[in-house]
Amino acid sequence: MALTDKDIKKLSHLAKINIDSKDEEIILSKLDGIIKLIDSMQKVNTDNIDPMSHALDITQPLREDVVTEKNQKNDFLELGPESNDDYFIVPRVVE
């Protein structure tokens, strides 16, 4: 199934990646090649096969609900492109 311009716009929106309209065609053709490659799976019969989401059969380990690390708020806030003493700052979203 070939991708269309409409698909690219939708993917750009879902992935939150702006795509310049002049690049759309080349992106479309390269994505199409990849989709063709992965579509070769479709001819395999997978009835009654359990999906494998993980390499090892392990269960989620649990631990005691105790504090393991000290609060590093300031270290992490410092990494933000824009922050104050308590928050990361983003453009206003509520008028």
Binding site: I34, L37, M41, F76, P91
Partner: protein, 484 residues
């Protein structure tokens, strides 16, 4: 100091032939000479490295050393290291100084190893040629017009050119074994879950695994001994006893069986690579190893399955790069939505964006069953093939790559041709199995490797067989003239 093994470096340090500071200065000097040509290192911090070296010298003088104390190790720039710039080869993280150590870095620090610097890599480990790095391409020390492989191309080129004795790397679809093969080195991808992924920047979480790239199986054994450890901060880290990989290097291999997958040794296999592999088989036969044909009948589906699962997981993992909490933020935008869109447009390179878009597509409403679920089912078939094969053999022999290194620029315009580089390595990532690439010869003066795949957590047998091969051959001791 240049071509010494890790064991010889350890001996030199313990016998006070040279200090860790002298050794570290020696390698920093080599980097000054060769890195401008090869571009294997992207971040150096001489002061930090030398301080670690002086600390190691103190430990050595107090007789408190282990195998890697005082030895400089190159660290792939995917591992967070406190106070070090950690970029994952991306503009997105160009301003990111990690506030904490990854488990792998923590283990090397505890062992007293010196962090020699951070190595170049394909952006977010997505690539097979090291041409997608924001910091420029890496050149293959065997011929500077050729790629070193990827994504751990910086680590491989650093070791191959003698700028570092050994390096860390990661492998999601072949990113340790392929560059090791293309640069004439030994590279081991351990079983999924053996090395902690804590602080290792995520690409495809169900496939990512860290391991060493070094000059020999013995050096890889030493590196893995430090890297393998249970870690409660990685929920997929396995709790089990780590064997002493060095002790089993000389175990007898006579009478053991290596499987040859008929799907890999067919007419599609490059004839020159085939000749090299036949010589490897011959060497093992001389050591009394038996060979048996086995079948991995679904292996041809590995690449399509991988290019669903890996981009799907990547599109989720890389959603964290949004210009809010760390990393790059676009300069101009009119609202929050546009900030996201432009930050991710400008911060990611072409290949990373392509994979995020593919991942978004296969996970989007209406396509999940046809792609992601389908891929997970075939993943099971691929893993079951290995399970059945290991009933008949101890290890599996395979090519590492379809060919030797290709020229820089040769595959950049056609992503699918680049993806084919990993056709012999990807199935083990999907199954979660350990595998090594070891040097096996040269084709037109460029190195070529072979791959040994082992059963789950059987790194000891892989290293044992590789070491025995390296005892009777000297391919792993060859060094490129371009750099020496």
């Amino acid at each position: 100091m240049k071509n010494l093994s890790l064991k010889e470096l350890n001996l030199g340090l313990s016998s006070k032939k040279f200090s860790s500071e002298e050794l570290t200065r020696f390698f920093l000097n080599e980097i000054k000479t060769f890195n401008p040509k090869i571009n294997a290192f992207i971040t150096l911090d001489e002061e930090k490295s030398l301080q670690q070296a002086r600390d190691a010298d103190k430990r050595i003088s107090q007789d408190n050393m282990n195998e890697l104390t005082g030895i400089p190790i190159a660290q792939k720039d995917i591992f967070c290291a406190k106070g070090w710039k950690t970029t994952c080869g991306s503009k997105m993280l160009d301003n990111f100084y990690s506030p904490y150590d990854s488990k792998v870095i923590e283990l090397f620090n505890q062992s007293g190893a010196v962090n020699l610097g951070k190595t170049n890599m394909d952006e977010f480990a997505m690539g097979s040629s090291n041409e997608t790095s924001y910091y420029g391409k890496v050149r293959n020390p065997w011929n500077l017009d050729y790629v070193p492989g990827g994504s751990s191309g910086g680590s491989a080129a650093a070791v191959a050119s003698g700028m570092a004795p050994a390096a860390t790397a990661t492998d999601t679809g072949g990113s340790i074994r392929q560059p090791a093969s293309l640069c004439g080195l030994t590279g081991l991808k351990p079983t999924y879950g053996l090395v902690s992924r804590f602080g290792m920047i995520a690409f495809a979480s169900s496939l990512d695994q860290a391991g060493p790239i070094a000059k020999s199986a013995e050096d890889c054994a030493l590196m893995l001994k430090v890297m393998a450890a249970h870690d409660t901060r990685d929920s997929t880290s396995i709790k089990q006893n780590i064997p002493d990989y060095l002790k089993s290097l000389d175990n007898p291999i006579k009478g053991k069986t290596i499987g040859l997958p008929k799907e890999f040794f067919n007419d599609d296999l490059n004839q020159e690579v085939k000749i090299v592999l036949e010589q490897v088989i011959d060497s093992y036969q001389k050591m009394g190893v038996n060979f048996k044909e086995i079948s991995l009948s679904n292996s041809h589906l590995s690449i399509p399955v991988y290019y669903v699962i890996a981009p799907a997981e990547a599109s989720s993992n890389l959603s964290r790069y949004d210009g809010v909490k760390f990393g790059y933020r676009a300069k101009e935008f009119k609202d929050l939505e546009e900030m996201y869109l432009k930050t991710r447009e400008q911060g990611f390179g072409e290949e990373v964006k392509r994979r995020i878009l593919v991942g978004t597509y296969v996970l989007s409403a209406g396509y999940y069953d046809a792609y992601y679920l389908k891929a997970q089912k075939i993943r099971r078939l691929i893993a079951d093939d290995f399970k059945n094969a290991f009933k008949e053999c101890d290890l599996i022999l395979a090519p590492s790559c379809p060919s030797t290194a290709f020229k820089i620029g040769d595959k950049t315009e056609d992503p699918v041709s680049m993806y084919m580089q990993d056709m012999y390595t990807i199935s083990t990532n999907l199954a979660g199995l350990p595998a090594i690439s070891s040097p096996a010869g040269f084709i037109n003066k460029m190195p070529v490797g072979f791959q040994l795949i082992g059963n789950y957590f059987d790194e000891a047998t892989i290293l044992n067989f590789t070491h025995q091969y390296q005892r009777i051959t000297d391919w792993h001791q060859k060094t490129p003239e371009a750099a020496v």
